[in-house]
Subunit: 366 residues, 2 copies
């Protein structure tokens, strides 16, 4: 097992990463003071891991109540949030009763937001069971639900007391979701750490094969890198934007294709190739760096180009909407080098068009 | 105009108190950076003050959108919160767009919670127009909505950027609500500051008559006193409990009579007499101090005893419920002196009965 500390002053917390640690009661014990806890999970994860977690907490002398919500993004809504809050109130959970999120990003976002607002905030513990949640949601304190008018529009920044990331749970993850999580891992290498990018070039196949040591290292290093950025910018103003490498393009892909048809990680993968192509056209990196980005993404069995169905003009339309929302100040996260992302002003429509086209042509080629 | 600073580190903010300052644009200008703001108010306050506030903000170059919600406690619900959030989304309000709460405690709690969760937190400005909101909600950062299973069960601690308390707005307040606000002012004197209690004994009639200077001083001193306690205990663990002087009894009165039939301040007034009677029986203060508490409350035209319809046994039943919720550790805020409240263990049922009975008998007597 490896542990890191996310340094946020009085809200600092630990992330424990290892194989088979889900039911290590000692990792939770220090944070379970009242003899009770509420576990929030979903219908897919509950049959796999709920009983093990429940038994681990029972061995620490903790009674649990379970709240099992529906699977999928549609569970990030008012109705499901109210299901959680109502269950907490019915069980007379108090301000000291922790909420434990057992599941992927949706469960973490939903349960975390419930923890942020139940009685103005109760202790929160995360047990992420997807790679995306382990490398992304476990650091940063973002919690939210969706509103019919926009994703993640209602939420809070709320930090957990502890995160327990058991990489053995990734064995039950559909391979496509594992790969989508790997996209976020690659992003941390490309955006933040050349050495980690090198390690990923040597080990990406081990991640796809579910190698526990490789996954543990990848999750730990991703969390460390993200934590470094977040600690410097907890409420997301400037520096934190570099974590959005590829996201301007990914957003256009996700919206253009309809949310859910491409996984977020898949869109980010293609978006990172576009960001690399744009960076090269802006004179920040050379063709060899673009090739490294594209090749590693391809080895991870992730898309290196946007969907053929999405025409270039549609990207530009969708980006224009983003630009309007941002009061005309559309900025792009670009690469100055492998491992060094920077936020730059829009380099102009011609280069953006070329970058998207380049990452579309590449897909059509064999 | 008087100004105080609530010292909460990076979340520190100023409260400005004066007569006719509602439309002093200079008080808001520093916090309005984007040229837009959303004003949340209700159907009673809007006709009185919305246009003045809107014009003041316009003179600072700020376009406003208005969200006018229903009047009354029932507006602190999911449905009304969603009305506010939906209006913000429709108007494409961004993370930098401030929400201005114009109204009493309900509007402040609702708009403050909306500000806490809209896009994970946007700037919040409070313009309280009731005495209760000026002396209570303006310090402490408590925001919330109600849940069918409990009041204030869903909320957040969220601090405003600035509070503008115009005591001239209190002229449009129903006298009964003004008196209920005075109860909270008296509470700050009794619980926290003997000198302020003396001042109130000399000036309580001026407050009831709407004297601007007296109101300005009372609001300022109340905010200062509450801010001192809150700064030491932002998230409400120990010391902050002394602000609940009279509340254990008040809670029984409010629940026993059905919420709304007694105003909160009225129940707190009677509850403070009971707390004083209990403190005397526990040997902490003498009969002269109890008389001072009772007399000042009576001069404020507030109830010095619980409702005749509520039998002694019903108080004890309702307190037993609170006790169960608190895992058997019912504690009482008592007075060690006028101006010095302390949190003490339950002194036993006999004394509690006597204290309630004493404050009931006192009411029946002329």
């Amino acid at each position: 097992m490896q542990s890191i500390r996310v340094d946020l002053g009085e809200r600092a917390y630990s992330i424990h990463i290892g194989s088979g640690i889900l039911d290590d009661a000692s990792l939770y014990a220090a944070h379970l003071k009242t003899g009770r806890a509420a576990i929030v999970t979903n219908t897919v994860v509950a049959p796999l891991y709920l009983e093990r977690l429940r038994r681990a907490l029972a061995s620490a002398g903790v009674d649990t109540i379970d709240v099992v919500v529906a699977d999928g993004e549609q569970a990030k809504d008012w109705r499901t949030l109210d299901q959680v809050l109502d269950a907490l109130l019915r069980a007379r959970c108090e301000r000291q009763t922790p909420i434990v999120a057992l599941g992927g990003g949706v469960v973490g976002d939903l349960a975390g937001f419930a923890a942020a607002v139940y009685q103005r905030g109760v202790p929160f513990i995360q047990v992420p069971t997807t790679l995306l949640a382990q490398v992304d949601s476990s650091v940063g304190g973002k919690t939210a639900i969706n509103h019919p008018r926009g994703k993640n529009m209602i939420g809070a920044f709320y930090q957990p007391l502890v995160v327990v990331s058991d990489v053995a749970t990734l064995a039950t993850l559909p391979p496509r979701e594992l790969r989508a999580g790997v996209a976020e891992v690659l992003k941390h290498g490309f955006a933040l750490d050349a050495e980690f990018a090198n390690w990923l070039e040597a080990n990406v196949e081990r991640l796809l094969a579910g190698d526990a040591d490789a996954l543990t290292h990848a999750v730990r290093r991703s969390c460390e890198l993200k934590a470094g950025v977040v600690a410097a910018d907890e409420r997301e103003s400037g520096r934190r934007a570099v974590l959005n490498l590829g996201h301007t393009f990914a957003h256009a892909i996700e919206t253009g294709m309809g949310y859910g048809s491409w996984l977020h990680g898949e869109a980010v993968a293609a978006g990172m190739v576009m960001a690399a192509e744009l960076s090269a056209r802006a004179g920040l990196i050379g063709e060899p760096e673009v090739r490294r980005v594209r090749d590693l993404i391809a080895r991870a069995e992730l898309p290196v180009a946007g969907p053929a169905e999405l025409p270039l003009e549609r990207y530009l339309e969708l980006m224009a909407v983003d630009k309007k929302v941002a009061h005309g100040r559309l900025r792009f996260v670009m690469l100055e080098a492998i491992g060094r992302a920077v936020l730059r002003a829009d380099p102009g429509e011609r280069l953006v068009r070329e970058a998207i086209a380049a990452a579309t042509a590449a897909a059509v080629a064999p």
